[in-house]
């Protein structure tokens, strides 16, 4: 009888820990609390259908792209505010990409809205995002979607002489692309490959390679079947660069003619927080990682 009683207590304690953890969505180990990738794709497609793809005019043939990832805002927004301020004051950069994980835990996006206000309300600057796994934990996808509207989309940066750099945002917040998004991605990439362009640039949250698997903590990645298909597709369509985050550690790998660049985290609590700038010209994409 005593044994049964102690079992009930252990089970109750376990449930309490699972339910009360504000940082990690532990039930998400078994089932996601947000919509899956197919449903998120459908919602994004519905938004994309009523909004034509963004075309951003660059002031010069060569322009600068700002990138950052894994801010994981908890209490302070210092690094996020710094990046927004630096980007906002740089007139050579028309666009900034955020590669997912704005938040950590149940914090919600209220602090993020405040921090992004200067660029969201600007007529000149554009900040575009892809969701990370933390952004959709605790059922927060709906809140993410209410701010950023879509999680898979394309846009183009057009230079004064008419050259186009085509950007594709892929939603990998679930560590899975899903059937519908994979079909869209295949169609979109081949279409981009077939049009006159300068660079095809893809950005997403989850990284692809596990070159130091035992050092990477417990981050999940794509299953192998999706990994093979995505790597093959990027190579076939001659994608120039694939930008990712998630790993919190910088890595650059060229594989199948495609550059895979993973960014450091920009987390306030990280020992070494970085953001990146990519100087894009006709012949190359030069990436610099800058300490915050």
């Amino acid at each position: 009888m005593k044994l049964h009683f102690s079992r009930y207590i252990a089970a109750a304690l376990l449930l309490f820990v699972i339910a009360s953890c504000n940082k990690h969505d532990l039930p998400g180990l078994l089932v996601s609390s947000s919509d899956g990738p197919d449903k998120r794709f459908q919602q994004s497609e519905a938004y994309n259908a009523s909004h034509s793809p963004l075309e951003i005019r660059a002031a010069d043939e060569n322009y600068r792209l700002y990138l950052f990832a894994d801010v994981h805002v908890q209490n302070s927004t210092k690094n996020l505010d710094d990046i927004v301020r630096i980007f906002h004051s740089d007139r050579t950069s028309p666009v900034c990409l955020f590669l997912g994980d704005f938040i950590s835990g149940k914090r919600g996006f209220s602090q993020i809205r405040e921090s992004l206000k200067p660029v969201m309300e600007s007529a000149v600057d554009t900040i575009l995002c892809t969701p990370g796994n933390h952004d959709i934990q605790f059922g927060q996808w709906n809140e993410y979607a209410s701010i950023f509207k879509t999680s898979c989309y394309t846009f183009a940066v057009v230079t004064p002489s008419g050259w186009k750099d085509i950007y594709i945002c892929m939603d990998s917040a679930s560590g899975k692309v899903g059937r519908r998004q994979m079909e869209w991605l295949r169609r979109t990439l081949y279409e981009a490959y077939g049009t006159l362009h300068r660079h095809i640039i893809l950005f997403t949250h989850t990284n692809f390679f596990k070159t130091d698997a035992l050092k990477q903590g417990l981050q999940g990645n794509y299953n192998m079947e999706e990994t093979y298909d995505l790597l093959g597709l990027f190579s076939d369509c001659e994608v120039g660069v694939v930008f990712t985050g998630h790993k919190h550690r910088r890595e650059e790998i060229t594989y199948g003619g495609v550059r895979y660049v993973t960014l450091d985290s920009s987390d306030d609590e990280a020992e070494t927080a970085y953001y990146a700038i990519a100087d894009i010209s006709r012949s190359e994409i030069k990436i610099n990682h800058i300490k915050l």
Binding site: G220, N223, E226
Partner: protein, 242 residues
């Protein structure tokens, strides 16, 4: 840490060497009557990347007394994916169970994407009547079939390999139900954070003929705390012992 990495690197080369060495030694081993077991499965599978696809598995195992197993496996899928593996398993029997060491060379040709994976794996396991636990490491080298450029091959030097299986009636019973979790099979090696849950059964019709069935279920994003269903694979087949 650097020393550990070097050690693992050397270990991987040695595993390959061991597989070749064991194969060379086989004819010299004086087994009285080696057991040869062959099997075939039909396979049905679904995942969002490859859709529905079917295939065929062929496998064989040569057991020399109770000291060494050598296994070969082949799988061809209609998704245009082909797998081959060769495993040498020296083993020692103790009263409560069997200790074994696996050295495996594995090739997967993902012809649909013009990619290949070459894997060498080393692991140790402990098998008891109702439980089998295996732990080890594997090294993955991936590349493009159409390219011989060194930058088109990528190495993931250390990945964890694991399998924990429970049986209801045990190996010696006429039929059995088994289940567990693993991140590899004879036909694929998943990432360490992408577990495969499985449930299967086995029935020995007589001394020579047996039947088996297994279902593997793969979740996605478990360690992203955004878990969902990824794919399912079913295998149904027969084995014959000579």
């Amino acid at each position: 840490m650097r020393k550990l990495r070097l050690l693992i690197h050397c270990l991987m080369k040695k595993i390959l060497f061991t597989v070749v060495l064991v194969l060379c030694l086989v004819p010299r081993m004086r087994a009285e009557r080696p057991d040869i077991k062959v099997g075939a499965n039909v396979v049905g599978s679904y995942n969002p990347a490859w859709g529905f696809n079917t295939g065929l598995d062929l496998d064989g195992r040569l057991s020399l007394q109770d000291t060494l197993d050598i296994s070969f496996s082949f799988e061809g899928m209609t998704a245009n994916v082909w797998s081959f593996s060769l495993t040498a398993r020296p083993k020692v029997k103790f009263r409560p169970g069997t200790l074994y060491v696996d050295a495996t060379a594995f090739v997967r040709l993902v012809a649909r994407d013009h990619l290949y994976d070459f894997i060498v794996a080393g692991s140790a396991g402990w098998k008891m009547k109702y439980c089998d636990f295996q732990l080890g490491i594997f090294s993955r080298t991936s590349g493009y079939m159409r390219s011989s450029l060194p930058e088109d091959a990528l190495r993931e030097p250390t990945n964890l390999l694991y399998r924990l299986q429970f049986n209801i009636f045990g190996d010696e019973a006429q039929w059995d139900i088994l289940g567990g979790v693993k991140n590899f099979t004879e036909y694929e090696y998943e990432r360490m954070r992408s577990p495969i849950f499985y449930l299967g059964g086995r029935y020995e019709y007589n001394e020579r003929l047996g039947f088996k069935a297994e279902i593997d279920i793969k979740p996605s994003g478990m360690f992203n705390m955004t878990a969902g269903f990824f794919g399912i694979t079913g295998r149904l087949g027969a084995t014959y012992t000579f």
